[in-house]
Chain length 360, copies 2
Amino acid sequence: MQMEQNNSRPANGLISRGETPLNLEMPFSSLDQFITPNEQFYVRCHFPIPEIDDAAWRLKIEGAVESPAEWSLADLRQMANHTIPATMECAGNGRSFLEPKVKGVEWDLGAVGNAEWTGVWLRDVLARAGAKGDAIEVILEGADKGPIKEPPRPPGEIRYARSVPMAKARGDVLLAFAMNGEPLTPAHGFPLRAVVPGWFGMASVKWLERVIVTSVPFNGYYQSIDYTYWEQRNGLPTLVPLAEMRVKAQIARPHIGEIVAADAEYRIHGAAWGGESDVAKVEVSDDDGASWHPAALLSEPVKNAWRFWEFRWNTPAHSGDYTLIARATDSVGTTQPARRVAEYGSYMINHLLPIRVQVR
Amino acid sequence: MQMEQNNSRPANGLISRGETPLNLEMPFSSLDQFITPNEQFYVRCHFPIPEIDDAAWRLKIEGAVESPAEWSLADLRQMANHTIPATMECAGNGRSFLEPKVKGVEWDLGAVGNAEWTGVWLRDVLARAGAKGDAIEVILEGADKGPIKEPPRPPGEIRYARSVPMAKARGDVLLAFAMNGEPLTPAHGFPLRAVVPGWFGMASVKWLERVIVTSVPFNGYYQSIDYTYWEQRNGLPTLVPLAEMRVKAQIARPHIGEIVAADAEYRIHGAAWGGESDVAKVEVSDDDGASWHPAALLSEPVKNAWRFWEFRWNTPAHSGDYTLIARATDSVGTTQPARRVAEYGSYMINHLLPIRVQVR
């Protein structure tokens, strides 16, 4: 287990998990704002950040459409604009807690954030181009590109691309040019990125340049080899692309190894989120899961956004190590799994994570 | 490049490419019979050969069917039986010629054979169980199983399984209990195997125990991670399951490095095959591809079977190294590619293979 304290921190307070490609996470123990400031929002890159001349940049739409088209950033700003909140979590968030170790960026708890995004609905863009009736998916392609190192891999350089099924594409997917009221920064996908609410971050393609409507399933690298998991179907493991985030509560404070005063009240707090469903309940255990106590949810649910929660803990009178666990249940009754699901591989880390603290 | 002469040969004349799992190929230079004798037919295994009690064995059919059912071997023998020829080639045949080296069994040219198979049509079995109208694929599952070592991999042990689309399943796929008039041997899939004519061998699942009709695409390990290749679609590499064999001519004699008498007639000969299309033409070059000469096709085409060919070569009067190449064209006009296609990865090795010989 890595502890946040051991990592170098850039000036903006984010923790570096790699420079090329750039990967940054927030120190989750500092969580205190429902809207994550842009400079504290985690950054996940697969390739070097592309330099894009926004004057020359165009969004292209092609494939199974009546009228292939392209629009400038000014064109998009002149369409109907919408602002929505969306919590975004990297599918590998929490990977540093996995035993045995698996491949991938060693995220602690901070590859998650909640922002307000402004842009145009993907469905409006699809309607303008006239998506055909047999279309089943929409591929979102970024400008970021590079070679894949590990087999199985396609040869040469590839661009980052991901697809969403037509039902989701015709739903609440936003093509965003602003984040919390500011233009996107290069690290966050300038000039345009997708925001796929309720889904892991890999679907929210940055540096978006091409929308391809397709009538056959897309099996690109990040849809088939990477960002996938195994699901048992008919008694056989079948590879499935990651999609919705999984219900999860994370403890911000105390952090791992924190020293907590004995025989006092301590505010255990954190955030919980759950894919396309709202969070309905958060519980806390201070005895390694033997008993559970309801936490207070600190606001009404906001669609597609995390929910803050707290639990006023009467700390033990006796010094010692204690294990805290939080667990969330969503509005359709799904609770976090107690143990790691092997089929999830290196992703979807939403089993219960014990946080050891010292009471003194 | 490996030369056949350097490999140990079991008593039956096959070349071992591994004992556990068992992998054997024929020495292709010994090619002389249109029907490959069972004891010379290549063997490809992914796991240990399962021991099956044929009295207790049943073929199950389930999934998107009106009436799930199971049949004994005696039941299948009592249904309408059919005998068809089919050439079967391992998708990795010729891998030892790839530079740089890639992962996988180091086959020379002999992971190919042609047999007559006897059994029942898969379509008859589907009709008996009543495959539903929304069914799109048929999964064929074997009894062979084991763990996968390299990521990305499903956890635990998996069974070998592969699917065919419904159109092929309703076509000429045979469930075979006999090979060249003899019951299948354990190495060839006793008591029952699929034979998918025109497709690479990975589709012809051995030790067949379960047929699962499905209305969603199957993405099992051997359908998504292994036995796949990259195809450019919409300018993006997309993972595609291997299916049809690719048109190909192989030279049996002379073999690599063979010493050929100068200023004489030498019978260059071999076999050619091509997926679901017939072979229409074979050509030979003795000057490294600068000029091509038509080879004689030695029989009428037999659907789904290879075609033998020969070229009477007037060898040069001067001693030296010469490069022979054969190339095939199928009945729809597809010719072997001159150079390796990078997207094919470690499979579908059907580019032109130069055979260096010494004329003395």
